[in-house]
């Protein structure tokens, strides 16, 4: 617990729940008649409402991106390294909006929410939502907040996909899109990892076809396994090697199958913690949203045609050791943007931490991100 909050923190923040009665038609054809989004904001919206930045979260993320909920919090929000006074997304200049997406499990309407039609949690009946659906819901949110055009929509990984979708679907409603450690579509290998995670969950006997709430249980083992395999794909061989090596918890081999290596015990710990705090149905839904994301699908599999719809300016960043969404995936996106004559800048940041590098500050990442956002602030008069 910090005695005082760091001076470059946005400080104590309180999430708020916004209720929407406007029906939202989803890609799957179903309609959400009413829905909630949980939102945190940092900084101040200027009079002309030109300085708003939307933060889109990744697979297991949520609205709490920066600051602390109480003085007892052990850790700040998930992207506190990049959001705050003097940080790349500088709250002295920007009004930052961070949300929990539909289908999430941190307060926005999702599988664990009560279905108003039945009075029971949605569970497996909650529709499979897509990146497009999220962006559509974020547009309704922007309308509610009176934000006609975002200074920037920013996200890493699955969050970057939302920024990209914004640029294609609502080209007039953002000036800049910052797409970090992302990809224009998943590869077969990416989908394969997601499938392993989903099978781990759905084959857990406590899953009960997604109706575990009614059985007063959780598919802990399945979700734990899903998280363990996911976690491996977020790190790199080198970073795991540096962190754990072949270190044992005790001095010698025990000739058994319990967690003897530090890396085993770490993964189990991470998995267990996650399985208590995250909803399994949400995990299924988020991984499916990843699988389905493919903005070129609607333009004859031609990404250049898809990007030609965009009018905002782009910053695309990748990380050298990211093997989940490799720099080559970002370059594929950048090349489509170049061919579509989008205004795009691209940098590959040298970092050893794999996919997770987008959450970890390094001097170059910080310099590039800061330089770009400063210019955005200058342009929008923030």
């Amino acid at each position: 617990m910090p005695d005082s909050l760091p001076s470059d923190s946005v400080g104590l923040v309180t999430p708020q729940t916004l209720h929407f009665d406007e029906p939202l038609t989803l890609a799957c054809g179903q309609t959400l008649k009413q829905w909630d989004l949980v939102v945190e904001t940092y900084g101040t919206l200027n009079d002309k409402r030109t300085n708003a930045v939307l933060i889109c979260h990744a697979l297991s993320g949520h609205h709490h991106a920066a600051g602390y909920h109480s003085m007892d919090d052990r850790k700040p929000g998930w992207w506190d390294t990049c959001i705050g006074p003097g940080k790349p997304i500088d709250t002295n200049h920007f009004f930052v909006v961070s949300i929990n997406n539909l289908g999430g499990c941190h307060g926005s309407t999702g599988p664990s929410t009560l279905n108003p039609d039945t009075g029971e949690p949605y569970g497996p009946d909650f529709p499979v939502v897509t990146v497009q659906d999220w962006v559509d819901s974020q547009v309704v949110l922007a309308d509610r907040l009176g934000i006609e055009c975002w200074a920037a929509v920013v996200g890493g990984s699955l969050g970057g996909m939302q920024a990209l979708q914004w640029s294609i679907s609502y080209p007039d409603r953002l000036h800049h899109a910052v797409v970090i450690a992302s990809t224009p579509r998943l590869t077969a290998q990416n989908i394969a990892f997601n499938e392993v995670a989903r099978r781990a969950i759905t084959s857990d006997t406590d899953f009960h076809g997604g109706r575990y709430y009614e059985h007063d249980t959780l598919p802990r083992n399945g979700l734990m396994l899903a998280r363990m395999v996911g976690h491996i794909t977020y790190l790199s061989d080198a970073s795991m090697g540096e962190k754990f090596g072949r270190e044992l918890r005790d001095q010698a081999y025990k000739f058994g199958y319990d967690a003897e290596f530090q890396v085993e015990s770490y993964l189990r710990y991470q998995g267990e913690r996650f399985s208590e705090s995250f909803d399994a149905n949400t995990y299924l839904l988020m991984t499916r949203a990843l699988d389905y994301f493919d903005p070129a699908y609607e333009t004859d599999n031609d990404l250049v045609k898809a990007m030609a719809k965009a009018r905002c300016e782009f910053l695309v960043l990748s990380f050298s050791s990211d093997w989940r969404f490799t720099p080559a995936r970002s370059e594929e996106l950048v090349n489509a943007m170049i061919a579509a004559r989008c205004k795009v800048s691209y940098a590959e940041i040298e970092a050893p931490w794999g996919h997770d590098a987008f959450l970890i500050p390094t001097p170059r990442y910080n310099a590039v991100f800061t330089a770009y956002m400063k210019r955005v602030a200058r342009e929008v008069g923030a």
Binding site: L315, I338, S345, Y346, A347, R364, A367, Y372
Partner: protein, 199 residues
């Protein structure tokens, strides 16, 4: 205003789509954006330069000409492809020139002249690899691995059937001097060439 920027600017039509190979801190592209309302990108590998480009609002792509080439750019996708003071630093200047002429309608290239009289004099008098204001490095640590003379460059263009539309010779301060126009390969320090495909 730097004389070379002024000269290059005159050769670029308003609203042109421009690619700058080795764009440095983005000074030239920013100038062209402002003066000629150009669009396009710079390619750069130096991290500090990339950051400076981002701060200026110059679109910049991190891409290494030597290892990645330019295959990701389509034929005839730019009006002009620029390369200022970088030709001598790439691994295969001839291949880069071919690529420039594939991507762009026109190419603009600037490089230091290794046949400038001072460099000739330096080599003759001392018998050592010349060092100067424009070429400040030692032979063993220089990024300039393919130095050439104006005559060399023109011979290569001739061999590749590229047409030299303009040539302006400036000194180390990028000033246009009448003397260097008189005897460029001896008196000129930096040349600015404007080239197109021959046919």
């Amino acid at each position: 205003m730097r004389a070379d920027l002024e000269i290059i600017q005159q050769w670029i039509g308003p609203g042109s789509h421009v690619l700058d190979l080795g764009c440095g801190d983005g000074t030239l592209l920013q100038y062209l954006q402002q003066e000629r309302q150009t669009t396009g990108f710079g390619l750069e590998i130096n991290p500090d330069h990339i950051t400076e480009c981002l701060a200026r609002g110059v679109p910049v792509i991190e891409q290494n000409l030597d290892t990645q080439g330019l295959a990701n750019f389509d034929d005839d996708s730019f009006d002009t492809v620029l390369m200022t003071q970088a030709l001598q630093a790439v691994r295969r200047p001839d291949v880069v020139l071919d690529e420039m002429m594939r991507l762009g309608r026109e190419g603009i290239v600037t490089f230091p002249n290794f046949a400038h009289w001072r460099l000739r004099w330096y080599l003759m008098r001392r018998g050592r690899m010349p060092e100067s204001e424009t070429l400040p490095h030692h032979w063993y640590d220089t990024p300039n691995i393919h130095l050439c003379t104006f005559k060399d460059f023109e011979a290569l263009c001739h061999q590749k059937n590229f047409r030299i539309r303009n040539r302006t010779v400036v000194d180390g301060e990028h000033q246009d001097r009448w003397l260097s126009r008189l005897w460029p390969n001896f008196l000129g320090q930096i040349a600015i060439y404007r080239i197109t495909r021959g046919d």
